[in-house]
Point group: C2
Chain length 564, copies 2
């Protein structure tokens, strides 16, 4: 029996961009053929992009996707690539119910071999696939060069039974899985464990191709890999970049060792996920630059740094909007940050505007504080509208959780890069980015889609990105004299622990007390979180990087009287 | 065989308010006993409220709900009501998976008879039940007074097979269904048809008890009813109000005819749904009054009228915020409307504020138009913050669809009462409300929860509510000289037809052309709708009244390149 070579095409598709996605598939097939691959494996729903949500329910969309797949098969054939076996994903139609399916197809010899429909439809967390798809109910194999390939799609390997068990009974030489598995911290290790179990179950190597790129509130990290039947890691593609790797199934039924990309530092991984989320949101929605308010605080500094890494400092418009309560230190820190990243930097004092409103409205207390934040929101949106820039919101997860922000004020924007980062994580990532800068990683120096050459990027002046003062000073919204976040909230070190337990682990009051948190803190935090749901509903999209992000990952009613 | 009397307790619960819901159940049981009922039937998930969304996943919530049900059974018993059979809904726990279930329980003789778990879990449209619940897999009957009752929960009667088919095989004397069926136009007739089919299937009368009240973006209209096996309507409770009706199963196995509430006028039905949505959002989130911008246009006029009907004109703060482009007619219309409904009325000219911003920012075109709208948003939120009022947004469905609004401007608010009404429907309902006013229906004169005495309410001066000029003039945002909506959008009569086809019926481009719409209109409208998704994501909640509302009913990606 001869060897069989697989190309693993870890690509960044765009939802709904049938033309662009097909063109990219064609391009990667060309490159795969150059590297003498017989089979090219693409991610889940490659032709349509993923996840397509309720687009699946539109008949004309399904028809267009189907037509595009057929045309792609012909294009492959007419450019001399018809001999390749191209494994890709698209939306299918269930023959019985006529409902949409999540389908794996094989393009070969000018035709679409209409293949395998995903069996296990995830409908938890961020997933709604039971809503939109009909489940497939048969396993599928394909013989290529005397080897039997079995197929599975993403969730199919996360559940026991189903198609993989059937394939184990039938016997396969390799298990090919196509995936759209969103990034979250720590998930790469889980994926590998699960894949190792399935490789053992079928007694054959497993190929795991994952998509890469940002799509609304999800980031796909790629991290494609191949394991032998005994769980040995044979190949691993880099995270956050497009990649084409090649692996070969040898005569003895094992995969020959190939390149293994190293694990990223955990801080670098999360930082890069946020940047890719922003970068792809911009690219896919046709934004060339961003604007944001620069307060001199750590949140806006980190977001500005991410923005510079996503689109270059010259495409970032930072606006300092000092009030009478802004400290000189804050103004200096904002200016330093802007200079470090090479951003445009404007100063728009809000005092004249605040005065004009106050002459008319005479507001006090929280209403007067919110007014300052909302004047800033108006200014940021004016920059967005007049220059065609994406406004980015700078709120972190601790603020979102507690409602410690002004709706229509600091919360304005089309994307919120750090909304899933607790405040303590914001500090950690800021320190990591400065260490990376000191080590020579300049602006745009991340390993990331569209930036395949990687580090070091555009050098930073002095090798510093985020002013140390922004990291080290006590957090303050500076909306009244001497204000500190800790006047209204527990210290972030404590707060973030309670939030992680309450939100990510769904601990109730009794659980939190058993966790060792004191009663007053628990009651304060739970009350704040529960009351802020209405604000979170109107908050911009931002990348999920934890096990449980706000948004479609955590669907709680705004109106709820449940108080523990 | 003796007669068996059922009380139908159509109540308005609040999600998470275990105490309040249990107290209301107890109260209705008392009243049911006074009317000599043997069985009291409550809506779906009565104890927890409905829908509870991801609260189902919190262990301490399930425990609290279970404890409250047990305590309620004891309270019933200790107040002499232990002999009643109380059919209610709550969250249960699946014995095998330990996951949450949507459960029907019977409280009797001091104990919770842990009963029937919903089998068909709706996971389409606004529903996410497959996400949170484990499906029950057995039908359940209960003998009371020699009659066999079979049970089903809401979706169980909307699907063929399952528990109702089993009950038909086993034989029952009455099919008792508990429901949380959200309102949409025309749905009452569909419900009755489906129930008639199930009554025929089991060959017995069917009891359909539905909840009433608003919960975030859903309105439950009640409209409880009873049919005999032959489909005859025996009883119908009023819509939009709490109600306790009584029906009796006679010796011959049919229900004795009882009171049948008449169908509402279709305009009245939709108008009342919007008002109840707002009223319950306010009550359940502890708002006593609302504030909104009054432009003199029809949208803000209709919303103000609804607000007056929801909470009384004295609790409505209308703010006129004229610019240099506001016509005298508009200012007069706004003042007339406020006077008609007895609202507080303030004038806050935006010119000084606009001037202050422009001296600093010098904006032009759309950016300058948006600035005016955002200054108004800041003012409305200032009223909200300083007076503790709910800000209500006045956008209609046609605007939301086309993105014809300013985010953080006229879109600010916690609730948006007319967001699911197309512009043409806004005019129709305005005319209806004026006809009703002329016929003597004053402010708060709707049949609605908390207002059980019903019409005529507080008389309107001159019997007019909405100024005729607001209804009849050409719509304009008045953000530049002589501006008309029709400069940017097709005429609403045409636009709304295209929107209904594209949104509610998910027609693609080819379908729309086949519907007879011209190519240019179709392309314009589709492009506008597709591009506005990001604004809709940040729009306030508002009541669903059509078959397909924006929000969780229509889940489309913000980032999508699909263009037909």
């Amino acid at each position: 029996m001869s060897e069989l070579t697989f190309a693993l095409a870890q690509i960044d598709t765009c939802v709904g961009d049938l033309e662009g996605n097909a063109a990219k598939i064609l391009d990667y097939c060309r490159r795969a053929a150059e590297r003498r691959a017989a089979v090219v494996v693409f991610p889940e729903m490659t032709i349509t992009g993923y996840p397509i949500e309720d687009l699946a329910l539109r008949r004309t969309f399904r028809q267009a996707a189907w037509d595009r797949a057929n045309r792609l098969a012909q294009e492959l054939s007419s450019t001399g690539l018809g001999g390749l076996y191209v494994v890709a994903g698209t939306v299918g139609t269930d023959p019985a119910s006529h409902g949409p399916t999540n389908r794996l197809v094989v393009l070969h010899d000018g035709v679409v071999w209409s293949g395998y429909d995903k069996h296990f439809l995830p409908n938890y967390g961020v997933f709604d696939e039971f809503r939109i798809f009909t489940a497939g109910n048969r396993s599928v194999t394909l013989e290529i060069g005397g080897r039997r390939l079995g197929f599975a799609i993403c969730e199919d390997i996360w559940q026991d039974g189903g198609p993989v068990s059937e394939l184990a009974r039938r016997g396969v030489d390799v298990l090919v899985t196509i995936n759209g598995s969103p990034y979250e911290e720590g998930k790469t290790h889980v994926r590998r464990e699960i894949a190792a179990n399935r490789a053992a179950e079928v007694g054959a190597p497993i190929i795991y191709v994952n998509q890469v790129g940002g799509q609304d509130d999800l980031v796909f990290d790629g991290g494609t890999f191949v394991l032998n039947a005994d769980g040995t890691l044979v190949e691993r593609s880099p995270q956050f970049m497009e990649d084409l790797s090649v692996v070969t199934l040898t005569e003895n039924g094992t995969m020959r060792p190939a390149a293994v990309a190293p694990d990223l530092d955990p801080d670098e991984e999360v930082y890069t996920a946020c940047v890719l989320g922003l970068k792809d949101y911009m690219a896919k929605n046709h934004f060339h630059g961003v604007t944001l308010g620069l307060s001199g605080g750590i949140d806006s500094a980190l977001v500005a740094a991410m923005a510079a890494d996503a689109c270059g400092g010259q495409n970032v418009w930072g606006v300092s909007m000092p009030s009478m309560y802004s400290s000189d230190g804050s103004k200096d820190d904002a200016a330093d940050l802007a200079r470090n990243i090479g951003a445009h930097y404007d100063v728009q004092p809000i005092e004249p505007l605040f005065g004009a409103f106050q002459r008319q409205l005479d507001l006090h207390d929280v209403a007067a504080e919110n007014l300052q934040a909302r004047i800033r929101g108006v200014i940021v949106m004016a920059y967005s509208n007049s220059k065609g820039l994406l406004a980015v919101a700078t709120g972190n997860k601790s603020e979102l959780a507690c409602g410690y922000s002004t709706i229509y004020g600091d919360a304005v924007g089309g994307y919120a890069p750090i909304k899933d980062l607790l405040k303590t994580r914001v500090w950690e990532l800021s320190r990591w980015r400065n260490r990376a800068a000191a080590a020579g990683m300049g602006i745009g120096g991340l390993h990331i889609v569209g930036n395949e050459e990687g580090r070091p990027g555009v050098p930073l002046p002095g090798g510093v990105m985020i002013p140390v003062a922004s990291i080290e000073k006590a957090p303050s919204a500076e909306l009244r004299p001497g204000q500190k976040d800790s006047d209204s909230l527990p210290e972030y070190e404590l707060l973030d622990q309670v939030l992680a337990a309450y939100i990510e682990h769904a601990h109730g009051r009794a659980d939190l007390l058993a966790d060792g948190f004191d009663e007053q803190t628990v009651d304060t935090v739970m009350r704040l979180v529960d009351r802020a749901e209405w604000k979170r509903r109107q908050y911009p999209l931002g990348p999920k990087v934890t096990a449980l992000a706000f948004g479609r990952d955590r669907r709680l009613p705004v109106t709820s009287a449940f108080r523990e």
